[in-house]
């Protein structure tokens, strides 16, 4: 049988099996920490309790599976360090997701809304939002996500603009970190760290090299490295095992197809 002409549905079945089966086993591979992930970890780790940290949920709903472990490690780290988290979203689709996630993780640490964290919600036209917060956060977001005037959160009144903000983290599936670099960093000198989808790393590379962006923690591997730095093995670790198996399966499939096509041609 010429394997190279296999029905695509058999390939699909193989992929489904190699995704599902490894998940049933609790195997966590050894992860080596890269300097990129170490960099963003150190940036957050060097902040002091009570410092503000802004977390921007810059992704769309469809890529949530990839962004969730990244968002979790960042928020876990920030709550653990007792930082004051200011959440916001620059994609309308990420808004509700960001809020839900923040609420969930805050509960684990017994943090209170308005005291330890706030969620500003969504603003369209990200360039003007990014630039606007350089002048005044409260002007861009007079109300938070829950439609309360921002002034009532007295613990957050110290945050006027980027000058009071030691670090901003953009959790992104697309090119928004570039806009943070071009507008918040270049114009206001804001430190911007990035946790992003694996596909975006090459696009951001020059910004990391020039120091305009910090990080990145990228994709499921970045999240797993971060988990290790935080001292636990969570969802990203488990996924990484499955991930390895799937990559290997695809490679083996390609090799099998090539050998089969070669043998078949000889006949």
């Amino acid at each position: 049988m010429d394997l190279s002409r296999l029905d695509r549905r058999i390939i699909f079945l193989i992929i489904a099996v190699v995704v599902i089966v490894p998940m049933l086993f609790d195997i966590t591979p050894e992860v080596q920490i890269t300097k990129d992930t170490q960099q963003i970890f150190d940036a957050i780790d060097s902040l002091n309790a009570g410092d503000y940290i802004m977390v921007s949920f810059d992704f769309e709903a469809a890529s949530f599976p990839e962004m969730r472990p990244l968002a979790s490690v960042i928020l876990n780290h920030a709550f653990e360090k007792d930082l004051k988290i200011v959440g916001l979203a620059l994609f309308s689709e990420g808004t509700a997701i960001g809020y839900t996630l923040l609420e969930q993780i805050a509960r684990n640490y017994n943090k209170t809304y308005g005291l330890d964290y706030v969620y500003l919600g969504f603003r369209p036209q990200y360039v003007s939002a990014i630039l606007g917060m350089g002048e005044s956060v409260i002007k861009v977001f007079p109300e938070d996500y829950l439609k309360q005037p921002l002034e009532i959160y007295t613990d957050f009144l110290g945050l006027d603009n980027y000058e009071d903000l030691p670090l901003l983290v953009s959790i992104a599936d697309g090119s928004l970190p570039i806009h943070w670099a071009d507008y918040a960093n270049a114009r206001y000198g804001q430190e911007v760290a990035v946790a992003c989808a694996a596909v975006m790393v090459t696009a951001f590379k020059p910004y990391f090299e020039s120091g305009q962006l910090i990080g990145p923690a990228a994709g499921v591997k970045g999240a797993a490295e971060y988990e290790k730095l935080l001292g636990y093995e969570g969802a990203a670790h488990r996924r990484l095992f499955t991930q390895s198996v799937v990559h290997l399966a695809i490679i083996l499939l390609v090799i099998a197809a090539n050998i089969s096509a070669y043998v078949w041609r000889k006949k």
Binding site: I11, P29, A62, F64, K205, S244, Y262
Partner: protein
């Protein structure tokens, strides 16, 4: 008149936005911002036209009982319910609009996106063949990078992730820059042809 006026407007707005880039003058910047707002406003009105065409096509299917017409009811219902809830009860946290978005739209969207993993496998299976030297280069690079991005690569040899990194930083980046420069040049001349009215099939003229 039917074609000349659109071409004149295209030219004037094109030249203005082109020249505005080179000035930080507040009046020009304000005019530019105003034009951007106009573009958004026109877009939203056009979206309404798009929604009307969807309604027309699907209600036509329903009334003519064309094949698959019951499915069209779902589309029409989806639009009406979402718009009704959104305009009627708001889009805030806890609203029914957001509930539908999170529990119906998002799962379907992310599942569509997840189909890609299957398609990546089938495309690789079919397309990665050792046909000639170019295809071999494509195949081998893909395999090295795929291995280098997961812990498995480290376990086989540290050389794999290092090679993957080197490939992405050097030859791959070089080709990407070459492609981007080409795209840049193509975009510029296409835009010039549009501004000068050489290319105008969408404005009613023969190109």
């Amino acid at each position: 008149m039917k074609t000349r006026l659109p071409i004149a407007i295209c030219f004037i707005f094109g030249i203005f936005t082109l020249l505005q880039y080179f000035s930080k003058h507040p009046t020009l910047t304000a005019m530019y911002a105003e034009i951007l707002d106009w573009m958004q406003i026109i877009f939203v009105f056009t979206l309404l036209v798009g929604v009307i065409t969807i309604f027309k096509i699907h209600s036509g299917k329903i009334s003519r009982k064309e094949s698959n017409w019951p499915y069209s009811i779902l589309t029409v219902l989806g639009i009406v319910v979402m718009a009704g809830l959104g305009f009627g009860y708001g889009t805030d946290y806890g609203s029914p609009f957001l509930w539908i978005f999170q529990n119906i739209q998002v799962p379907m969207q992310s599942t569509m996106f997840a189909l890609l993993a299957f398609f990546v496998a089938s495309a690789a299976y079919r397309g990665f063949r050792f046909r000639n030297k170019e295809a071999a280069v494509l195949l081998i690079t893909a395999i090295i990078v795929m291995l280098g991005r997961v812990p498995l690569g480290h376990q086989i040899s540290d050389l794999i992730p290092q090679t993957a990194e080197w490939i992405i930083d050097n030859p791959s980046t070089a080709a990407k820059r070459g492609i981007l420069i080409g795209i840049g040049l193509g975009s510029i001349t296409t835009a010039l042809r549009v501004i000068l009215g050489i290319e105008r099939s969408y404005l009613g003229g023969r190109s």
